[in-house]
Structure formats: structure tokens, C-alpha cells
Amino acid sequence: MEARRPSRAVIDPKVRHVGFFAPAANPLPGPSSTLLSGSPAGNSLSPVMIPPPRHPSDRSPAVPVPDTGLRRQGSDHVPVGSYNPSESLLSSSPAPSSPSGRVGLADGEFSEESDGWYRYRRSGSGTYDLPLPDTAPEKALDNPGKSSAAPVLESKKPAHVPEKSGKAVVEEQNELQSSSKPLKEKTTKAERRALQEAQRAAKAAAKDGNKSAAVSGGGPLSKPVKQPSIKKDAPPVSLSIPASDKKGSDRPPEKERKKDVPPPRMQFDDKSRVEKAKRRAVVNQTEARNRVELFRHLPQYEHGSQLPDLESKFFQHDPVHPAVYKVGLQYLAGDITGGNARCIAMLRAFKEAIEDYSTPPEKSLARDLTAKISSYVSFFTECRPLSISMGNAIRFIKSRIANLPLNLSESEAKAAVCSDIERFINEKIILADNVIVRHAVTKIRDGDVLLTYGSSCVVEMFLLYAHEMGKQFRVVVVDSRPKLEGQALLRRLVANGLSCTYSHINAISYIMHEVTRVFLGAASVLSNGTVYSRVGTASVAMVAHAFRVPVIICCEAYKFHERVQLDSICSNELGDPDVIAKVPGRMDVNYLNNWSSKENLQLLNLMYDATPSDYISMIITDYGMIPTTSVPVIVREYSREHLFV
């Protein structure tokens, strides 16, 4: 611990650049710092936020669970000063490609599939430093480390950001992230491949070695512990050897950050990769005929052909768990729509799959299960591109699996993961919705006219709750083709006795005159404040903005994502184009019945759009009500917490 303090001080100047700070930099002495980080005062929220009623378990992250200890263990053991200079050098001038940067980079190169592997390895190496994971001592080790790290920050930051302990780590990782990013672009593809190959070879070698070790040593449980030792042949627990430590400790934070950055999305205009993906695919997709040129980078497949095919194969797909398969088919058929519903369905399917899972012999649970989940995820992706919220949930599961303590038996581990999943559903979705509804209801007054667009389940809950509370208001439901989700919402609202007005999106300028508030749901909130939501949301927000009507977004924090997006074209989802040409229920509109024969005509069924942040007055999330500029804060806070949950 004594060794750490000065080294922290080396980091601090960098950390301080991030936010508001006062020049007095000396870490506060122990007692006050523990008070700060431990007491709820450390959680003080900015004036813009109404402190939300926290879920009981929301606080739990403050008490680190063992696995987080594992991760931190690595950095705790390291004399940070040994690598810190190089890091600061990197951050100041990104050009020089130091070996450590390269290594981290190569790790970051792994895509979703190989993701599980390196994470597993990292946790393995983490444990290696402390062979017997004993929770209590770790906590003891961890907490002081935190309290020594946190006050440095907290004493200097005004209570602007919901501050929690352990922040320094995140901060530091941010720094690392920003410093290593330019490097990534520098290496050529060949170089990266070479690195990857080398690592694969190393891994294979390690495996072989491991096998022999396992044969001699027995039990599959000992395997993960041994593997890294053979591979890296690093000396055992040591606080003093800088070289190996550099590897062991330097990497986890870096990797941690790498992992946080979403892997580059598949670009469907990249022919070779599409071919590769096709070979792996379970779902037989045929390319749509008249593709829109502007959206070549997005998958555009014929719709309607896959479902019967998949249904017939229901019993043939061993690798895909039936529950997962079922949910996948439901996605494909459009039976499950809406961010929350899709996410919950996916998580429940995963849970079921994990319950039925048994580790194959000679494999470790963490690694094999992650690979399994990845294969399920790619199956889901084939059925329908993942939403951002689902991506967040998947990251959560994977990190939970990767951070499972290794001394757990298989059933215990499975139970732990399952309970984690259930807790995610309860806290991040269901409870979060309740909190949002509570917040939102404070924002309406009697006589208000509330406008909503499409069908958002949070907004619906909120409207029904407000009605139950006896608030007097009217609802305007605005809808648009082709999904006409608003009609279902309208039906439910009217059935509950709310006074509704229904219109379509073109009439938005007409109806906006009488509206006093606009409440919208979101598929995701990106860290530049852009709200990514059902197509049309941007138009509604824009018109509301033009009429000076406040636009309030209701979105659970688990849907926040650190990706940024400026337009709706770079990343989007394309729906079935056929539904554009057909207008159900309107016999007179049949101009395009034979459209596909015409080469010049393309039909574009965009699913989402990005609402610029300046149209949005406020975002109501489970952490309170925030302006769009605070989204990155929530993202940072949340992504850290989400690893610790």
C-alpha cells in the first residue's frame, strides 16, 4: 500500500485533467476519505438531478464482490510507477508504438467470438497472482486501495457527478483508452494478424502443455489456474518483478477498456467478411434484390423466407439451445418487439440455456460458456440485428461469467450467473421502469396534453400510472407506418379510460399546437446525447422543438451506450421492404403491387433514427432526470457499476 501512494500521485495529474479540480492535490488522510467514499454523501448528485430512490442493491457495488477484487488485484500488486511514465508518454504523443501498446492492441483486436477467450485468460492471470481466491482478505486488500484512490478524485471534484468509490480506476482506464486508440489505427492488418497468430500459437502450446499437466495433475479445476502459468511462464506471486508485472497488470485495465469499446460493427459491404459470416450462419439469408445503395453496409435480406426454413430445422440444431432458438424465431417473426421485451426474452433464454448447460469434459466453464453465449448471440444477430440494449446485457453476462470465482463448482457457478441475470432483469429493467415512472409523473400537471410517438412500454406505464394517480390529462398518440405500434398503445390506453387523440406523423405540426409535453421512449441513448429510437422520433422531437414544447425521453440506464452517432445512416436496421409497398386495410392504395419487377425502385424500411441532442429537453432515467450533456457521465458511471453488479 505504501508503494502505491506515490505512484497514484504520478497518475493524478492526468486524472485531474478530466474534470473540475482544485490545484491542492495531496490525497486526504484516511478517515475523511473513508467517510467520503463510504457515506452516501459521496453519492451526492448534481443539482440537475433529483436523487432517485436507489434500489437496495444499487448500493451493493460499493462492496466489491470477489471477482472485482480479482481484477483489481492485478493492479494492486503492481508498482504502477513502472509503467506509468510510458503511459503518460503515450498519452502525450500517440505516435511511438511501445511494445506494451502493441500487445494491448492485439488483444483489442479480438472480435466478439474470441472475446471470451482473452477475458478468460485475463481472469486466469488475475487469479494466478493470488492462487486461492479468498474473499475476505481480498476485500480487505481492495477497500483500502479504493479509499486511497478515491479521495484523490473526490476531494477535487465538485459534487457534479454522482461519485462513487473506485472511480480512479475508471478514470485511469479512460486515459489509457484515449492514449491507445490512435495506435490501433497505425498497425496494418497484416501486423495484427501476425500478432494474433502468434498468440493463437502460444495458446495452443499452452493448451498442449496444459493437457499434459492436467494428465499428471488430474482435476479439470486445476486447469485454468495452470494454463496462464505455462503460457507466460511468469514467475509466481511476485510484487517485485517489473517485467512480468507490467504484462499482468498493465493489461487488465487496458483490456477492460478495449472490451468496453464496442467491437467495430460488421459492415455488410465488406464482401469477404460477409462471406465468412455466411458460412457460419444458421439462418439462410438471401440478399434482397433491390438494395438501397446508401445502406449497403447494413444487412438487407429477403424477408419471410427464413422462418419456415428455421422452423423445420427446429430439432436439428444441436448447438442452439431450444429456448434460444425459440426466442430467435420470435425475433425473426416479429413476435417480440420493443427494446425491453427483446432484452428480457433474450436474458431469460440465456438463463434457461445456462441452467441446462453442463461443462464438457476438459473444458472450463467460464470459457466454454462464454463461447456458447457468443454462438447464441450470433444466432440472435442472424435472426435480427441486436439492439444496443441487448449488447449491453450481453456484455454484462459475459463479464459475470468471466469474473466467476474459479473455486465455484459448476452448479454454483451456474446458479450465480442465473441469479445475476435475474437480478439484471429486475433491477435494470423492471425496477428502473418503476423509478422512471415515478420521476416522470412529477413532470405533468393537470390539464396537460401529452404527446407520445409509437409505443414505448415505459411511457405507457407512466401514462397509466399518472392516470391512476388521478392526474387530469389528455394523451396524443402519434403513429407511423409501417408498424403502427401506436394503435396497440391507443387500444390499451383507451381501455384504461384515458382520453386519447390519435394521429399520424404527418399531422404532427397540426397537433403540436395543443400539446404541452412530449414523452418519448428510446432504444438507446448514445454518449453524445443522441437518442437512438424508433424511426420518426427525431421528426417528432424536431417539431416539438420548433413549437417550443419540452421533449422528455424516458429511457432506462442500461440502454445507455458509449457509442456516438451523428446521423441515422451509419448504423441502423433495415426492416422488410415489402411492407412499405403494401398498405393493409387500404384497398385503394395498390399502386406498387408489382414493385419488385422494377429495377429502378427501391423500398427503404428504416427502423431507427438518431435524434440530435439539442431537441431533447430532458432524459428521465433510473438515475434521475438529466440533461443530454450528462449522458456520458451516466455511461461512465454505469459501465463501471455494471461490471461490479
Partner: protein
Amino acid sequence: MPDVHVLVNDFLNNLKKRKIEGSQATARQTAELLRSVISQQRVSYTNQAGALMDAVRAVGEQLIAANPVELAVGNIVRRVLHIIREEDLSLTTAAIAGLGVSAVSDDDDDAEGNDHPVLSAASLAAAARSTLRPPSLQTLLEDVPDSAAVPHTSSSGGDSDGKSRSADKSSRTRKLKHDVIEAVNELIQDITTCHEQIAEQAVEHIHQNEVILTLGSSRTVLEFLCAAKEKKRSFRVFVAEGAPRYQGHLLAKELVTRGLQTTLITDSAVFAMISRVNMVIVGAHAVMANGGVIAPVGLNMVALAAQRHAVPFVVLAGTHKLCPLYPHNPEVLLNELRSPSELLDFGEFSDCMDFGNDTSSPLLHVVNPTFDYVPPKLVNLFITDTGGHNPSYMYRLIADYYSADDLVVQRRPTGGS
């Protein structure tokens, strides 16, 4: 003249039942109807112009009342009134000029006039325009009180003229009617050819590889795009379908059959796509005197999105769509709500729309407006058959076609009776 009554009533019915689609068709039919009204109108010897105008006004009032939202009707009525005024004035001036300058016999004068009726009318109208127009630099330079008293001068001039020169009354009456009908014919011609005239300018505005967005369907837009296509420009068009009428489907089909690269999008995707669009070209229902546009529903949203992305918003409008009125609360007053069945299936939602509950007001309302109002600040350019104009210039353009005294069509009959 029972047949005129029948015609008027038929047209009134069609207007009331909203059977006439599009302002161009309405404008043309109105003009044709007024032409037959004028030709059947028996004109007294004194104050022929006044009699014609009264007749036109009486019919026009009914027509406007039949469909107050279809501004083209009122526009045409006012244009015809303006034509009568101009013709009358030109005849008067010609007569005065003939009286003053030469001592030629009246019959010769008439013969000459009949040889070049249009020409003389046009030239004299141009000369007389200064008195008919609202203040311009020219009128300011001339005698101000004289121009202010124009209507009286013209009519009383006609009267005194009639009294003093009773000999040629009958021929002059015929001549006035004839000239007016000629001019109305020209107006009809203008209305029918406005598409071509607007489309001629297409190449000046569309360049190679451009991406154009439009919403709904407008014949003017279709002709405009096709004219550019015929001039070997290759560009692509995004068509927003224009719910709930889905005229965009029709436009997309037409464009595809003419070989244009067309992409059909939903209305909700307009904001998403507009960042990749070079120009928005739309048709209008009517153009108000302040440069605001009464347009198919949804266009205000498109205009706002275009403004956000600094995409030029171009409105194509024939001159018959120029309305000399200034809008007041146009979203409500110049709008029309269509049937909810276009949005909601009655069968499916019949229980929700049931009034039978004990509550007095129904829980569900459906709003389905026809038009949007696009304020002038969102419009970058108007393209009419006379060329491109700024929204701020619209009032001046309108002054060329309408007389300030005709803005309120109903006034005279209510005051007279």
C-alpha cells in the same frame, strides 16, 4: 340562362363533395365556368364592366363558400375580376385616346380594334396598370390621389363615356365581353400549361447526381423531375409516401416508369434521410401572400428537417395557386379534416369510438388533417411559371395578378343587397 345555373350548381356540388382533386383541375374548371357565366351574361348598356363583375362575384361567392379551403377557386374568381377591370380600363383608355387623337368614325375604330383586340388590350392594360396596381415606384411618381380613386374613375369614366357616346354602345359591349372571354381563355391556357412552363426550368435547378426528396404526389413535381431526366440529368429521388393518402406510391410508380432511380421511404424516415439529400422539391396547395405555403400534410415537418440540415426547400407552384390573402391561423382555418377511417380501421376500433358510455365525450379522437402550413422562413425558393422567386417577393407577384379591390369577393353583394 338556365344552363349556366345547371353548370354552376353541378360545380358547386362537386366542390362541396370534394370531388375535384387538385388545385389545377379546380382552377381550370372554375375558369371555364366563369367564362360561360360571362358569355351568357346579358349586359346592360351602361356599366357593362360592373354588370359582368357583379355576375362573376355572385357566382364566385357561392363557389368560394362551397369549398373555402380550396383557395384556387377564389384565386381564379379574383383573377377573372381583375381581367374584367383591365379590359374595361383598356377599352376606356382606347376610346378616349381615339376620341382625342383622331376624328375617325366609330365604326372604323371598332374594326381596327377587332383586328388586334388582344394586342391593344395588352398594351393598354400595361399602360393602365399603374392605376390598377397597388403603390409602386411608378405610381408614386405619378399622381397619387388619382390612383387612389381608380375604381370610381374607371366605372364612372365608363358611365360618362357611355352617356357621351351612346352611338357605339352595343359594339363596345360586345367588344368588352369578347375581350374578357379572350383573356379568360388565355388564363385557362396558362393554367393548363403551367406544368410545362415550370418544368422548363428544371435543368437550371437539378444537377448531375443530385439526390432529391419529395413528399406525396404532385403533378408539377412529376413533370419537373421528368423534364430534368429528359435533359439527360441522372439523379435519384427519395419519395416519402405521404400518409394517409399514400400519393407517394403513385409518384414513385410514375417516376419508375419514366426511368428515374426512385427510393420510397416512410414519412417517419424523412429526418433520417434528409442529411443525404441535396434538395427538397415539393408541390403546394396554395401560396399565401406572405410567402407561406399551404401544402399537403407533413410538409412542415419536412421543411423543418430541411432547414435543420440546410437543404434547400423548393416549392413548385403555378400562378393559379398564388393567393392574395394573408393567412391567419392557417393550420386551423385553412385546413380540412378527413375521415378517421384512413387512419384507424373502424371495425377494429369501433368499441373505442363508442359514444354509448356514460361519459359525455368520447375517449378517442382521431385527427386527420389534409394540409400543413409551411411558414415563409422555411421556404428557400418558389418556382412558378414566371420563374423563381423568394418568399418575400410573393406579395409583389400577387399584385400583378390581382386587383386590390377584389381581395374580399363578398363585399359588394352584401353591401348592395
